[in-house]
């Protein structure tokens, strides 16, 4: 098990640190490209890279996006504005990438822009769409496409991504398993390249402060989510069909009803998940689930892991291992993870770790919030239930 290191705050703001990381990257890599989703985090990466590329006379900046088809109209409009900029060379891929579909047990994956599904596509192909890519591997993940997106002929590649550790445990683990300044440089799917996380230590508020301070353009889909009352931490642009995001699938109904109507025909199980994703039908009712007599949550978690298919078991067990490492990095090995009540300092208990074992995924999402003592105390102080269970 990799040892996870602790956050060591430095006396520099995250903005200037991000620029320093990018300066390091621009100095050392032949080719810098931005993985751009149209979301808030990649918006920051895009603009910081633009600033760096302008200073160094390396315009136009190379940017690519894998369009996920079921995306809000504001994202499409923003993408088009970005693509129209003379200082940006945007490659707008509309290709059948494999995406997880947690809505349906019968169809565990879905493929945007799948040519066979053309009649069901939720929108028209954008005018800028690239639908052919030499070396594209259909129905595989984005990682599998990196050799095609960043060919070795261009030299060493820096693939800049808006990954932030605040977002999930596994993302924290990716950074905290390394040490020091260069922790933002991560292995990539191609040997001649690295994945660069220049804003790994930014908080959501920093991500929004940047466009305010510098007057950057941004994706107005977030304003719609904000008006709908979606919490800042949960405002995401990608189609919400994975394990964690389906809990906010219902927000698509109010934010983008026309898009939503098409999504229910496009992705099997979407309508059912929107209605029931926050209930036990989709593994959300752990809080109310009865523990079999004579078992601990730890026993029950290990038993659930055992029941999973090998691939899912590997994912879930990996996630649980990361949680254990984090617990140990906070409180040491002497204190084991408590069974049902969150540890007062680390915030972990086996009852929480049971969820990934039950659904066979690697998503902890909200538990990341729980690793801070403050959040736990705040919740206790307010007497809030840990998770809201809705009954429709």
């Amino acid at each position: 098990m990799t040892r996870l290191r602790k956050k060591s705050h430095v006396d520099r703001d995250c903005y200037s640190l991000a620029l320093e990381r990018l300066a390091y990257v621009f100095d050392r890599y032949d080719y810098v490209t931005v993985a751009f989703s149209g979301g808030k985090d990649s918006t920051v990466c895009l603009n910081l890279c633009l600033q760096m590329a302008t200073e160094r006379g390396r315009l136009p900046l190379d940017v690519y996006t894998f369009d996920e088809e079921a995306i809000p109209p504001e994202t499409v409009e923003y993408m088009a504005r970005v693509g129209a900029r003379p200082d940006i060379n945007l490659r707008w891929f509309c290709l059948p990438i494999q995406h997880r579909n947690a809505c349906s047990s019968a169809s565990p994956y879905w493929y945007p822009w799948e040519p066979e599904d053309r009649a069901k596509w939720v929108r028209e192909l954008p005018a800028e769409a690239i639908t052919e890519l030499a070396g594209f591997v259909p129905h595989q993940s984005i990682a599998a496409q990196m050799a095609a997106v960043c060919p070795a002929s261009r030299g060493t590649v820096a693939n800049v991504m808006g990954i932030r550790t605040q977002e999930s445990l596994s993302r924290f683990g990716a950074i905290a398993s390394k040490e020091g300044f260069t922790a933002f440089i991560n292995p990539a799917a191609v040997k001649h390249g690295k994945n660069i996380y220049p804003i790994y230590d930014w908080n959501t508020e920093d991500v929004w402060l940047a466009p305010f301070k510098f007057g950057w353009d941004y994706n107005e889909a977030y304003d719609v989510m904000e008006a709908a009352g979606v919490t800042r931490h949960e405002q995401r642009c990608a189609p919400p069909f994975g394990e964690q995001p389906i809990r906010r699938l219902y927000t698509y109904k109010t934010c983008w009803p026309e898009l939503w109507a098409k999504m229910t025909d496009r992705v099997p199980g979407a309508a059912t998940a929107a209605r029931y994703a926050n209930t036990e039908l989709y593994g959300f009712g752990v809080e109310t689930e009865d523990l079999p007599a004579g078992m601990t949550w730890r026993d029950w978690t290990l038993a659930a892991l055992h029941e999973l298919q090998p691939a899912n078991r590997k994912e879930a067990a990996g996630a649980i291992r990361v949680a254990i490492s984090i617990h140990r990095s906070i409180v040491g090995r002497a204190e084991p993870i408590p069974d049902a009540e969150p540890h007062p300092v680390s915030g972990f208990c086996w009852k929480q770790l049971y969820l990934p074992a039950k659904i066979g995924g690697n998503k902890f999402g909200r538990i990341q919030q729980k690793i801070t003592n403050k959040a736990i105390q705040e919740r206790k102080r307010r007497g809030l239930p840990r998770r809201r269970i809705t009954t429709d």
Binding site: L4, R5, K6, K7, S8, H9, V10, D11, R12, D13, C14, Y15, S16, L17, A18, I175, A176, S177, K178, E179, G180, F181, A183, D201, W202, N203, E205, D206, W208, L209, A210, P211, F212, K213, Y218, E220, Y222, D223, V224, E226, A227, A228, G229, R232, K253, T254, C255, W256, P257, W260, T391, D392
Partner: protein
């Protein structure tokens, strides 16, 4: 009526009857939270009765509610609403077997659209511009102040966030 089957439509036979003669069904999956209950009361007082309660009546016993249980409960629990109609409610009768009654209930509840955020925001802004106070909008639509404010605020997210967070946080490295 200028179409031949008007008489066969339940709505053509609305009657006012004593709410005490109705009874809830035993399967209704719909639970109404307090804010929506209050909104329903306000609706009945402000707009009056605009739709009948749908009841099952096979002529042998109580009138069992298929749709409209919550409006009926408002009449039974809120004297100022009951007073308006002398304790009566408008009903239409339908006759089906239990399976089809349950399905009729679900259809009455679920066959409806969603209010889009953008259009709701436009309405709330128009209400405020027309002179309604945020307090009145909040009361008459039973919205929390948070909801009224979010819908009314035209500022984009960067501006909203900058009101409470005006400097970048310190960065960190793993050690």
């Amino acid at each position: 009526m200028d179409f031949p089957d008007a008489a066969s439509q339940p709505i053509s036979r609305v009657e006012w009857i004593d709410a005490a003669r109705l009874t809830a069904n035993d399967y209704n999956p719909n639970r109404q939270p307090p804010p929506e209950h209050r909104l329903l009361k306000i609706s009945l007082l402000e707009d009056g009765w605009t739709q009948p309660i749908v009841v099952f009546d096979d002529g042998t016993g109580a009138l069992v509610i298929v749709d409209g249980e919550h409006r009926w409960r408002v009449v039974r629990t809120e004297p100022d609403v009951a007073k308006r109609t002398g304790g009566c409610v408008p009903i239409v009768r339908i006759v089906k077997d239990r399976a089809h009654l349950m399905m009729a209930t679900i259809r009455h509840n679920r066959a409806r659209g969603e209010h889009t955020v953008r259009h709701m925001a436009a309405i709330v802004r128009e209400l405020l511009v027309s002179g309604q106070s945020p307090e009145d909008v909040g009361f008459l639509l039973q919205m929390e102040r948070e909801e009224v404010d979010r819908l009314a605020d035209r500022a984009g997210l960067p501006t909203r966030v900058s009101r409470v967070h005006d400097d970048f946080a310190k960065g960190w490295v793993p050690k």
